[in-house]
């Protein structure tokens, strides 16, 4: 479904992604694991095209020069260098790190803004689906986003991303800073989304353990390079990986 080859991202002379190859098949959950500053967010930004926007802004302000090399193909089409909004239209939706919900709008409005790309019947349908998936949001419809707790915000962020009718959902550290209960709930929801909506999902995490059960294929990033890849089981059985990323 999505294939990126030879991805290299430079922030000025600093190499943030080094020759990364990543692939996601249809209806798969792909995990990308790595420590902080291993390049997970950079990868997500590059795949979703946000990097193009960052690069443009940096260039205008005379900041560091960002170079993106490599090819990204999506559904057999070359999308390298495409604007983020165009990629979103094709179905690549990023649910960003630290959630970035619209903190001054209420829950309902957040979801409706997310439904910008959807037709009104799609929006209605997805809205019902999101409230079914996260019943907790139902009672909070009128609450302003900034007053939600971390877990509620994350649910809202995922719901908002779903409203945009993704075919490939990118989840950047969805479990960051959440309580165990909330983590388990979100992991369950992620699996449900994949199974019921038939989406492909790429999820990044620092600790692999909570998401590992639902991951079909995993990559491990270290210092910007993909050092290891394999199915979830293969990963689990690799002793180095176990100690470093799974906390076992």
């Amino acid at each position: 479904m999505l294939e990126a080859t030879g991805l290299m991202v430079f922030y000025e002379n600093m190499l943030a992604l080094n020759n990364v190859m990543i692939r996601c098949e249809a209806n798969q959950v792909v995990g990308v694991f790595g420590a902080n500053s291993a390049g997970k967010s950079t990868l997500m930004y590059t795949l979703s095209g946000i990097m193009e926007d960052i690069r443009k802004k940096e260039h205008m302000a005379g900041g560091e020069r960002i170079t993106v090399l490599g090819r990204i193909t999506y559904l057999g089409e070359d999308i390298t260098g495409l604007k983020p909004s165009r990629r979103a239209k094709k179905g690549i939706i990023l649910c960003p790190e630290r959630r970035r919900i619209f903190s001054e709008s209420n829950v309902m409005e957040n979801l409706l803004i997310g439904g910008y790309l959807a037709t009104s019947s799609q929006a209605k349908e997805t809205l019902d689906y999101v409230f079914g998936l996260f019943p907790a949001l139902k009672g909070l419809k009128k609450r302003v986003g900034g007053f939600l707790s971390g877990g509620e915000q994350q649910m809202l962020a995922i719901g908002r991303a779903l409203m945009a009718q993704p075919r490939l959902l990118l989840l950047d550290e969805p479990l960051l800073g959440l309580s165990p209960l909330m983590q388990a709930m979100l992991v369950g929801a992620t699996k449900e989304i994949r199974d019921e909506k038939g989406l492909s999902i790429i999820v990044t995490e620092q600790y692999a353990r909570p998401v590992l059960p639902i991951v079909d294929y995993a990559f491990i990033l270290e210092n910007g390079a993909a050092v290891l890849e394999g199915t979830g089981e293969e990963m689990m059985n690799n002793p180095d990986v176990r100690s470093a990323y799974f906390g076992v």
Binding site: N13, M60, A61, G62, R65, T67, L69
Partner: protein, 336 residues
């Protein structure tokens, strides 16, 4: 193929060396380090000598006053994080003070200027004190309002000469004194502020700018540091105002005009914010252009604005940012 190569920016070897202590090792490296400064200092000092007419010499003085304002703006905006649109306020307070001191108390310019600078800066800081907790654009707009209010108050209450202003202010002893005084003031403040921001106290100011929470968590009052910074900045503004009054021999409401707020900022934008030299350079471009355009009569300001827009759009990072990068770094294509 552009696909597999990228442009790389690297520090010039000489820059890397001169960053260390070895700068004095060779003449070339010494020159690399000091030449830009020497060019600036010498250039500014000989400017009055090479310019042909009294008219252009007067322009130089005005440029320098704007440069002081621009420096004060750049210092506040890029080293303390207070975007102040109140350049005119500083000018006005300094100017009126100098005028009053001169006409009412009969002090000579030699005394009025320093007194107006220090006293004016203190007054400005006190008046701006309640606004210091404001952030970003709100501070900007409030400071924009201050000079307008002052102008209106003077007009409405008909104090300080009302709309006529204060006339008969003593001028500088002669044009040479005037010019060399303002030029040296620009140089003193340029290098002084540069020194200040590189000292550890400058670090604290910069910390106030990008991380005020952490500064508060360290047990320091942000408002106090901001007040100090505003005082330094208004010193420059009030100095410019005091000089201006002595140059024009008149103080009036137009000291509070929007020009004094806007032009220095425009100069900072085209010169490159955060470089300190940039704003000065910007003034040396903008003010003379405005003079050269006088031939166009009323259309002058329109042309002027278009040139300004062109600068901003074509070199949005600012001339000095660009220039400094070119001076310190080189670029090359590398294969990856």
């Amino acid at each position: 193929m552009a696909e597999d190569r990228r442009k790389e920016r690297l520090d010039r070897g000489i820059k890397v060396r001169t960053d260390g202590i070895y700068a004095l090792m060779s003449k070339r490296e010494l020159a690399y380090l000091t030449l830009p400064r020497l060019v600036l200092i010498v250039g500014m000092l000989i400017l009055p000598l090479v310019l042909p007419s009294m008219y252009w010499q007067r322009v130089i003085s005005i440029v320098c006053l704007y440069a002081l304002l621009a420096l004060s703006f750049d210092f506040l905006a890029h080293f303390v994080g207070l975007v102040s649109l109140g350049g005119a306020f500083f000018i006005g307070v300094g100017g009126y003070l100098a005028a009053i001191l001169n006409t009412t108390f009969g002090l000579p310019p030699l005394l009025t200027i320093p007194v107006a600078t220090v006293l004016g800066a203190t007054i400005c800081t006190l008046l701006l004190f309640p606004c210091l907790p404001l952030r970003g654009v709100y501070f900007a707009i409030v400071t924009l309002m201050y000079p307008l209010v002052m102008g209106r108050i003077i007009e409405a209450l008909d104090i300080l000469g009302g709309t006529d202003g204060i006339m008969g202010v003593e001028s500088f002893a002669n044009p040479w004194v005037e010019q060399y005084f303002v030029i040296s003031m620009v140089l003193v403040f340029l290098f002084g502020v540069r020194r200040l921001v590189n000292l550890d106290i400058g670090l604290v100011l910069r910390a106030v700018m990008d991380n005020d929470q952490a500064v508060r968590a360290s047990g320091m009052s942000i408002t106090r540091y901001k007040a100090v910074a505003v005082w330094v900045a208004s010193c420059m503004g009030c100095l410019a105002g005091a000089c201006l009054v002595h140059i024009y021999m008149w103080a009036g409401i137009s000291l509070f005009a929007l020009d004094f707020s806007i032009l220095p900022i425009a100069a900072t934008v085209i010169g490159g914010g955060g470089t300190l030299v940039g704003p000065v350079l910007g003034c040396f471009i903008l003010v003379p252009i405005s003079e050269l355009l006088r031939a166009f009569g009323t259309l002058r300001i329109a042309f002027y604005a278009i040139i300004l827009v062109a600068f901003i759009v074509l070199r949005s990072e600012g001339l000095m940012v660009y220039g400094r990068r070119k001076y310190h770094q080189f670029e090359r294509w590398v294969q990856v």
